[in-house]
Point group: C2
Chain length 260, copies 2
């Protein structure tokens, strides 16, 4: 596997390959590779003559500096996995190589980067769009591969690709799950054994809502005014409320946050 830490030699290398009419697939990652990433790389290897994986923990897409600090980094393990699977090229740049100054351009995708992830991670998708733009321009891939777990990210990148006319063929690859059902994520490394059990609530909630239950709401509210809240400020003032159809029967329940 060819490993590049700098943009220029990578571009020279890839220009040579492109001159031989070889097709290029790009798999952008933040490292801490798991089976989900390996599926992306396998998909790229099946479609393209040459696969470039990138490992770069992009600071501009973290809206929270402790989340950036705590993001898992397992470079030795990553290099081993990429070698084993037969990835052709790894691009693993430094921050200095990717960002020349502290002032970064911002993207605004309208409602698309304000809802869901965007609502809770302001600036996240602007950072994603920025780093993906850089990678598309550096690598100039024919195809690029992204995991379906980051579904909204894919929609943002598709808009970026369309509006900026990159003409990259974007591919979304299905979620890879652990045997338990937990969606694979680099962040899973940070879960304790107990937390890993609790984390199954995500897929269980999706499964239940999908198959058995029609959730109408699950809201946190001020227990005095019933004003809806995004997070608990004072536990004494907070109540959780839920309503769902179980089959044809509509049930409600609630719980005070501070009660025993």
């Amino acid at each position: 596997m060819e490993i590049f830490e700098e943009i220029k030699p990578l571009r020279t290398f890839l220009a040579g390959k492109r001159n031989q009419s070889l097709s290029i697939g790009l798999v952008p990652t933040m490292g801490a590779l798991h089976q989900g990433h390996l599926c992306l790389i396998k998909a790229s290897m099946a479609d393209n003559d040459l696969t470039v994986a990138s490992i770069y923990v992009n600071p501009t897409q973290f809206n929270n500096s402790s989340d950036l600090d705590n993001y898992p980094r397992t470079k030795g393990e990553d290099l081993k996995l990429l070698g084993q699977i037969g990835c052709d090229v790894l691009f693993i740049p430094s921050n200095e190589e990717m960002y020349t100054g502290p002032q970064n351009l911002k993207f605004d995708f309208g409602i698309l980067d304000k809802i869901l992830e965007g609502k809770f991670r302001p600036g996240h998708f602007s950072g994603v769009a920025l780093v993906v733009s850089k990678l598309f321009n550096i690598v100039d891939p024919d195809r690029a591969y992204f995991g379906q777990k980051d579904y909204q990210q894919f929609k943002v990148i598709a808009r970026l690709n369309d509006e900026l006319k990159f003409f990259v063929d974007l591919r979304s690859v299905p979620i890879v799950r652990e045997e338990s059902g937990l969606a694979m994520s680099s962040r899973n490394q940070r879960l304790s054994k107990e937390a890993r059990g609790n984390a199954l609530l995500l897929v269980e909630s999706l499964n239940f809502v999908k198959t058995e239950i029609k959730l109408e709401y699950l809201e946190l509210a001020d227990k005095h005014t019933l004003e809806l809240m995004d997070q608990v400020v004072n536990p004494q003032d907070a109540i959780l409320l839920i309503a769902a159809f179980v089959g044809e029967v509509r049930l409600i329940d609630n719980m005070m946050i501070a009660e025993e």
Copy 2:
């Protein structure tokens, strides 16, 4: 137990009691009584000289006629339970006794009856306020008892009591749960054995969100545009998305509604 089906003889009876300076507690119900109701009646019996329970499935608070038709009715069983517990008075009126015409006054509580239950059951709280106003005026209780499960209903009735100056002492009684954790509800009678297991997701979700997981969103969206949706119109177009902190680790997941 004294049983009244008509307003006038009930009022005459209660006026006599009030002349003896007896305090009166009211427990409005829609019948299909369970332990939750019995706790309300016990609370009233502990606080008051005389307890009046009402059983009336109030049509104006059902926004959906099949929900009204399917609401459980177990009059024989209810009378037995009320007798056993020692309830003093039962008021069990007909629709004709409670409503004289098809035109009903509507209440508007601003945001309070538009969110949570109000969002999914338009008109529900107006109907609740209407029947509670009738019952307060018919019984003129010192205190009235409501279950905490219908938390928003209690807030609506408190507003009603305050704004219309009923001066009833309103009491909210904690949720009674089955051994499994399922909140007691007359509607539970309609659950199949399998659905009863699935229904535990409500309390489990509340418990998880409260203790272990900080849910950021659980949303249904159009898979093409990511427009958020309240319900599935075409399963082929729908995706469920979830994000939550499990301890300090932020996880996301998603699932297509139509996928296998």
